[in-house]
């Protein structure tokens, strides 16, 4: 499997591919948003503006389906950023990947820093098969959401935001929710509460990561000769299309769940 290019910098394990891909995603999302809002017009919106307004209406619909519009309004921007960021991130890993082969632990370095993950992996391989030349593939280009840290970061951010809002803005209903409907439901409610961010982040990560793994596997088919090549191309076409679908659905689901979790804590009624 592909290794992540990780360097040690001031005691921090920095995953260069994640940092790089995060920056790429953010830049693309920002450019799209800026292009769409470049020539804003009240009466004669352009195509891009129409598209973004459609997205806003869509997110507003999601928000309205979970909570009151007055309470949901401040989170439209957040949901918009989430859906655009996750969608772009999901799509980034699909068209191509940048993978480098490393055979020599000495050469596994960038900006003068050794790629820690690669050297460790090489040592591990070397221990298992001392006679073989170790080969490690380093993935530089992938979906940031195909990394568990990134997906979980978004999920836990939503978790903290929703529970913070619940605690401070909707205190009574929020704490009442834990002993609902009877006090001895507290453990169940706690498990439910803490399983939410886990499933929230892992769902996104799992879907996107699995998609990229399967793309890698399909690409490996080419090593089986011409027949494998044909199957590889057909499989890639099908799987890429499906991954686009999955990426869209996951962006939608993540945003939807974000609004839902916020509504459950922040907008929950007292008598719920």
């Amino acid at each position: 499997m592909h290794e992540a290019p990780i360097i040690k910098l001031g005691g921090l394990n920095i995953d260069l591919s994640i940092v790089f891909m995060l920056i790429v995603s953010c830049v693309i999302v920002f450019i799209i948003a800026r292009l769409a809002t470049r020539n804003l017009s009240v009466e004669n919106p352009g195509k891009m503006q129409n598209f973004l307004e459609w997205l806003v209406e869509f997110v507003r619909g999601l928000s309205n389906s979970t909570m009151d519009w007055k309470k949901g309004k401040p989170f439209i921007s957040l949901a918009m950023t989430l859906i655009m960021f996750i969608f772009v991130s999901n799509m980034l890993g699909l068209p191509f990947g940048v993978v480098t082969d490393v055979h020599d632990a000495e050469k596994a370095q960038i900006f003068g820093q050794p790629l820690v993950s690669v050297t460790e992996k090489m040592e591990a391989i070397h221990k298992q098969h001392p006679n073989e030349e170790p080969e490690v593939e380093v993935a530089w280009w992938k979906s940031p959401t195909a990394d568990a840290s990134a997906s979980m970061a978004l999920a836990i951010m939503v978790f903290l935001l929703s529970h913070g809002l619940g605690m401070f803005k909707n205190t009574r209903a929020y704490f009442k929710h834990y002993v609902h409907p009877y006090p001895y439901f507290l453990p169940i409610n706690l498990i439910e509460t803490f399983s939410k961010p886990l499933t929230h982040g892992m769902r996104l990560f799992g879907n996107i990561f699995a998609g990229e793994v399967l793309i890698t596997v399909i690409l490996r088919l080419t090593s089986l000769g011409p027949v494998g090549g044909v199957f590889s191309v057909i499989g890639l076409i099908v799987w890429q299309a499906f991954s686009i679908f999955i990426g869209t659905i996951q962006a939608f689901v993540f945003t939807m769940l974000t609004l839902l979790y916020i509504s459950q804590t922040y907008a929950a009624e007292d008598d719920h």
Binding site: A4, A36, T37, L40, I76, A148, S149, L154
Partner: protein
């Protein structure tokens, strides 16, 4: 799969920066434009409703005015019909009375003329009969009063016979 808290933090930072930038440079203006459009549509809708209401009122007024005009025209025609009828009757009445007056006058004139003619004839007949009588009796009736009495007497006799 590997979890690194550094990647975690980077993701959060990147996402927050993106959120702030988008909010400031993209979504903020976009939301305000959408809000403006919503207001514009609302305003135009209410304007349209107002215009429609005004139009309805206007049409109602026009209808009423038309009705009034029609009523007035009818009254005028009715009035003129009445006056013309009255006038005609008046004229006829006038003509009738005029005719009656003319007839009366004519009758009176005729009577007058007749009386005059009778008077004149009586005088002439008197003179002629006196002359005849004087010729017959050979003497002249000198005194006028006696002469007149005689004539009248004769004439009465003549008139009584006739």
């Amino acid at each position: 799969m590997s979890l690194h808290w550094e990647s975690f933090v980077f993701t959060l930072i990147a996402f927050l920066i993106l959120y702030i930038l988008l909010n400031k440079y993209a979504f903020g203006p976009l939301f305000s434009v959408m809000e403006k459009r919503r207001e514009l549509v609302q305003q135009q809708l209410s304007e349209a409703a107002n215009t429609r209401e005004q139009a309805t009122v206007y049409v109602e007024e026009q209808k009423q005015a038309l009705q009034e005009a029609r009523q007035q025209a009818y009254e005028i025609i009715e009035q003129s019909k009445q006056t013309s009828g009255k006038q005609a009757a008046q004229i006829v009445e006038l003509a009738r009375s005029e005719a009656a007056r003319l007839k009366d006058e004519a009758v009176r004139d005729i009577q007058n003329e007749k009386n005059k003619a009778v008077e004149q004839l009586r005088g002439e007949v008197g003179v002629a009969s006196v002359k005849i009588a004087s010729k017959l009796i050979g003497k002249e009736v000198k005194e006028d009063s006696v002469q007149g009495e005689l004539v009248d007497q004769y004439l009465k006799e003549v008139g009584g016979r006739s």
